[in-house]
Symmetry: C2
Subunit: 282 residues, 2 copies
């Protein structure tokens, strides 16, 4: 079982660790634009060997876990090189542009567009952890465009890693994910920015910030490479979500400025039902 | 050791549990506007008995853990009734208005203005947990206005509960806390609102939201009573923080809309140093 993983960060590295555990016979080859990441992945035992793009010819599996704008460029090249039975999947957080990038490719049937909803705020090979995908949702787009036999094999792999599968249209995926994931990252980054700007003397933050701030600002530790790429690829949806978020914040500020206690209370009470929604999330 | 706790929610209830553990001889009397909360607190063993405001005459300690706008009303009445040696402290998340409410009170020296930076997103007596204050910062304002002997006793109690003490001017407290705590709550509530509004079919949220969304939206479960009161009492500071947050979000949206990958990347990279700041927070 030959597996080539392109991109050895949090996601690619964690996939490697889980695959090695589930399939001890797997030989994992790594490709990464960063020599440092390659060396780290080798020394951490995440990959067995370094590879080059042409190696995918002999791979049973090719996994793309690079920033989404890189996926749209590299995926067609990967498909140019794969064998008849190679299964290629990506782990990108946007799906429409990636699906479009190989729409007409003669090897489109070798590709599965996937988005495992899993991650942490850390990045790079050293952030890789085992069990990251266990119990998590993996969204698969345009499954009908993948060869049936390869779908079956891929589902076996995803199942071995503990993932729950959901099928979705790539355009719908990108719209929904803008709200439930991408927007959270911007809200967190800008919250961090606002507080850092204000609190030049960081001791005040250390002492006064509690677990609430830690929780809301956690995603501001995330990788700028990963996220600038995601926001660029999903620009229209993210901008629409951000627009609505800003409008809601402005509305709340008006209630605050006009001393409308009841109005603020009602806004928060209505939103409290997020409790029930969150109970459904791992 | 007679202790009267006014307000038996998350904070008052958790203080009761920790005090009972540290001082098993303590007799805790509870006062709450909600009969249901009183009964709950009794049946959960948080308090030994129900009381009325006039009971504070015989109390060694009186703790106010009600919404901050209620503190400014009840605190003067409490001080009207206390004995010479009674120590009164509050746990409110704003400090300036509370300090002003008893500025000229003849029993001002019996009061310690405190803000233990601790909490969860849950509320009511059933949310009370032991150890909530262990290792947390307790901000004390205008300590010089409290009788020295009572300061000493209060510090012993706070120490027994594991709190770290920080002294601060109430006006500075309210300004800083608007950024590192109050703003987080609004960002989280409005994020929750934005996503709920968009996702009428909540199954999409269940399936697609990951740990990042859960983390950023956690505070949207918080009590509207507590927070409408805090925002009202700290209106100017919260509005200024919100103004800056909205400006930063708009600026990010402009970078996004104009396709400025580098600009978005730089914004996020600059904010990544929140990593170092967060490392200092429990």
């Amino acid at each position: 079982m030959n597996i080539t993983i392109i991109g050895l960060g949090l996601i690619g590295g964690s996939l490697a660790l889980d695959i090695k555990k589930a399939f001890p016979q797997a030989v994992i080859t790594g490709i990464d634009a960063s020599t440092q990441h390659l060396e780290e992945a080798l020394s951490l035992g995440i990959i067995r060997q370094k590879g080059i793009l042409e190696d995918v010819r002999d791979a049973d599996w090719v996994i793309l876990a690079v920033p989404v704008d890189v996926i749209t460029k590299v995926l067609p090249q990967v498909l140019d090189n794969v064998g008849e039975e190679t299964i290629v999947f990506d782990a990108g957080s946007t799906k429409a542009a990636i699906c479009r990038s190989v729409e007409k490719h003669p090897r489109r049937r070798n590709f599965i567009a996937a988005h495992p909803i899993a991650g942490t705020e850390f990045s790079g090979p050293s952030a890789a952890i085992t069990g990251l995908f266990n119990g998590k949702t993996n969204i698969i787009c345009e499954v009908e465009k993948t060869a049936f036999k390869l779908q079956e094999k891929a589902l076996e792999l995803f199942k071995a890693l503990g993932m729950r599968i959901r099928y979705m249209d790539p355009v719908a995926h990108d719209m929904h994910i803008a709200y439930v994931s991408h927007l959270s990252h911007i809200s967190s980054f800008m919250l961090g920015k606002t507080v850092i700007e204000k609190e030049k003397d960081e001791r005040d933050i250390f002492d006064m910030a509690g677990s609430g701030f830690t929780s809301t600002v956690r995603l501001a530790k995330s990788s700028p490479n990963t996220w600038a790429s995601i926001f660029s690829e999903n620009k229209e949806n993210v901008s629409a979500a951000l627009q609505q978020y800003i409008a809601n914040l402005k509305n709340f500020q008006q209630l605050l400025d006009s001393g409308d206690y009841e109005g603020m209370h009602a806004e928060m009470e209505n939103t409290n039902r997020i409790k029930n929604i969150l109970n459904g999330i791992k």
